[in-house]
Symmetry: C2
Subunit: 464 residues, 2 copies
């Protein structure tokens, strides 16, 4: 086994950390048009690093410009190194865009000023997914800089729209079968089941994200003069929410569960063996008074293999300090559903939209907008790729690799499978308490370094 790359990893830890901090300082929030230039800066940063480490064909691929149909697409970054004749070709996937940082006042240190505390680096995007994208770059850099070559062929494909639906990468994967020809995809955007426990993710939930707009009066009304006669869009949205999901967590949309299947017996049994304590999960991760959800399913099955429906916020009306007594003309609810394999996002959008219409009370007009959709995915833990990945992680973590699913979505996994028949491996180095999509997002630095090493080992094992 070559040791030069691994020595390089050890010797360059500080530089790697400084590089990651530079990337984290760029507020590349993909949902907010105001951050368009930051998105461009982040793509440029990735491309520059790829060039400097010796990758070839580095290209920033611009997306469609803004048009009546929607906002501008964000650029992809592509790069390749294809000189390992006869060896497999891996696509390395990550994303440089991040979630919005709000609520800002709950951050201990500012979201775009990375700060190291207790072996963790805190910043928006630390773990999702800049830290995990950057470790892919550094794993490759070790080989190119220390050995002058890689044990396998690689193609980087880094996107900037993972948090907003990933339209650009989907179009690219569909339209570039030759350029993206590969044997497997390595996705570095998931987490470990527990600290120190090497983990491969074998399933992802899908997503349908909607906005339900309710219109009542033609203009805001005084609730004194009109309360009791004018329809209130927020009361309507409350009724719709309760109509969509019961207090028991059961989703009431007719046909919603039609295609839902439970995981196999072996998988459910393996989940039971994972080191999971409901009381710890409640206390350390959720921090609420109690857990909720459908009866008859374990917590892990509920978050990994059962569909859900959540409301993320209500826009409109009066929400500031004080007592404004308004019946608002318009209110909007941001509602998403997580899907499981076999559920078809298009069908779910149809069922959801029809049922929202049905639930809409008298006097109110609703319209449903769909912001993003992605189907759920299952990947096999028995492929050559998954087996090598498990072994690579075991070599670094000195523990048996476990298999979990993830309740979140990584749409690209399904797209490589569907359009190109390429299987993915999801090696992830996040921790359950990393505060994804929340204030004080962090990445555990030992996992950043072990991630680089595990990916390096994976390349070596595939190249043998």
């Amino acid at each position: 086994m070559g040791t030069a790359a691994f020595e390089y990893y050890q010797a360059n830890r500080e530089r790697f950390l400084e590089g990651l901090k530079d990337l984290l300082r760029i507020p590349s929030v993909s949902t907010l048009p105001a951050h368009k230039s930051d998105i461009a800066r982040a793509a440029g940063f990735i491309a520059r690093e790829l060039t400097e480490m010796g990758m070839e064909g580095v290209e920033i691929i611009p997306g469609k410009p803004a048009a009546a149909g929607g906002p501008a697409q964000h650029p992809l970054v592509y790069a390749e190194w294809l000189h390992a004749a006869g060896k497999p070709t891996l696509i390395l996937y990550g994303h440089y865009d991040v979630q919005p940082p709000d609520p800002l006042d709950e951050w201990i240190s500012p979201p775009f000023e990375p700060a190291v505390r207790n072996d963790n680096i805190y910043a928006r995007g630390a773990v999702d997914d800049k830290g995990q994208t950057y470790l892919l770059l550094k794993a490759v850099e070790g080989f190119l800089k220390a050995d002058g070559k890689l044990p396998i062929n690689v193609k980087f494909l880094i996107e900037g729209e993972e948090e907003v639906g990933g339209e650009h990468i989907e179009q690219y994967v569909r339209s570039k079968p030759v350029r993206l020809k590969a044997d497997s995809v390595l996705v570095c955007d998931t987490e470990m089941f527990a600290p120190e426990l090497p983990t491969l993710t074998t399933g992802l939930r899908g997503l349908v994200y909607t906005e339900v707009e309710a219109r009542g009066p033609s203009h805001d009304l005084h609730s004194g003069s009109y309360g009791g006669a004018a329809p209130n869009p927020f009361q309507a949205l409350a009724e719709i929410m309760v109509g969509l999901k019961g207090p028991d967590g059961h989703i009431r949309i007719p046909g919603f569960y039609r295609r839902v299947k439970r995981p196999g017996r072996d998988e459910l049994a393996a989940w039971k063996r994972l080191p999971f304590k409901e009381s710890e999960f409640l206390k350390k991760e959720v921090g609420a008074k109690a857990l909720v959800g459908e009866k008859g399913y374990s917590v892990l099955e509920r978050v990994w293999a059962r569909p859900t429906l959540e409301v993320h916020g209500f826009r409109g009306g009066f929400t500031e300090e004080g007592a404004k007594t308004v019946i608002p003309a318009v209110g909007t609810a941001k509602i998403s559903m997580r899907l499981v394999p076999e559920q078809d996002p298009k069908e779910i959008v149809r069922l959801f939209t029809a049922y929202v219409k049905k639930l809409t009370p008298k006097g109110i007009q609703t319209s449903v907008g769909v912001l993003s959709t992605a189907p759920a995915t299952i990947v096999s833990p028995h492929s050559r790729w998954a087996k090598a990945a498990a072994e690579a992680m075991e070599q670094v973590f000195h523990k048996k690799t476990v298999y979990m699913r993830c309740g979140g979505s990584v749409p690209i996994v399904d797209q490589f499978e569907q359009y190109m028949g390429i299987p993915s491996v999801m090696m992830g180095f996040g921790l359950p308490d990393d505060n994804l999509h929340a204030p004080n997002e962090k990445f555990h630095l030992p996992n950043f370094y072990r991630g680089i090493e595990a990916v390096g080992r994976y390349f070596e094992l595939l190249g043998q």
Copy 2:
């Protein structure tokens, strides 16, 4: 009948309008602490005008400063003229504070840049209540400037907290029985039933304004990773809203209707004779697809004499553009109730709070904050004061005065009655389409001028 004052009104219309515009330019929004200095400017403006017209004892009465218990109180403005020996004494009430102007983007002209279009003046506070407060000043000014005296004694009491609960004026009324000794109060803060139709308001609904805060997880969570197990505060608030009020408009709080009585037969019959068309009201005032509310009650009874419960907005979560998938730690609903006579705000707060607790689902903690309360009021249309007011309006409008109630609240009416036994008269010059508390608030200028004249006639009739 003296004509000098009325000639003065005619001759000074343009100057009155310019003065009103100056007052409207001051953004004296009482709910927002950022406007503290504007509140002070508006109080100063009123005091200066009172002094210049010849009122005596003009005083800006500061409120309690900001303390741990709450924000600073806003100043009252007092002034008196007491030289009509043997004649009655009237308190003239209005308020110089206004509602917040949002949503700003729906205003045709900016809310604090008064603009005249089609005989209407558009600005926040145009009708509620700067325009109607200012007409009281101008009615008095006419007598003092043209005749050098008033036909009755008057005491102005103008407040700056009407839109935020009016704590200061309530304390003042309770604590100054000698200074505020008077025979009746003239409140100029209501509206006419229809254009050209002189109207006295004989009843007001009360108000309880609350904030219900729901807490679920200890921090914002990713809905992918936790959806299906973590409690969602907004789902809880939706369930609470639906628990509080049914789709039929019936409020479900146990005991809520216990003390509610229907208006007398004569009053209901008089309401039936008012020129009211439900279809016109729906189309011209509400602008929704349909009206809603409790079955078995007319629209006028529903908005004047039935209690209601409305949600004004939900604070928290993600409400910006895009698709952030968060289960928020905290969500807050702003919920108010309008009360009818006999309902006790304290009892309603108790019933509401207890029922919100009962409706709170598993995993969620709720707390109820009360921002403001006021009981409902009924005033007699048969008092000497009401009869003179009706006649004064008839002389100006050349139509028979009608009697209506108002679904909104003017807490001071109840306080003068309760603490001092002084009856009020509510003469109002607003129109149903004046957009109170909404964008494009306006005041119909002919009503501004007729209001001045009607108040002047009222003084004369009382002085005869």
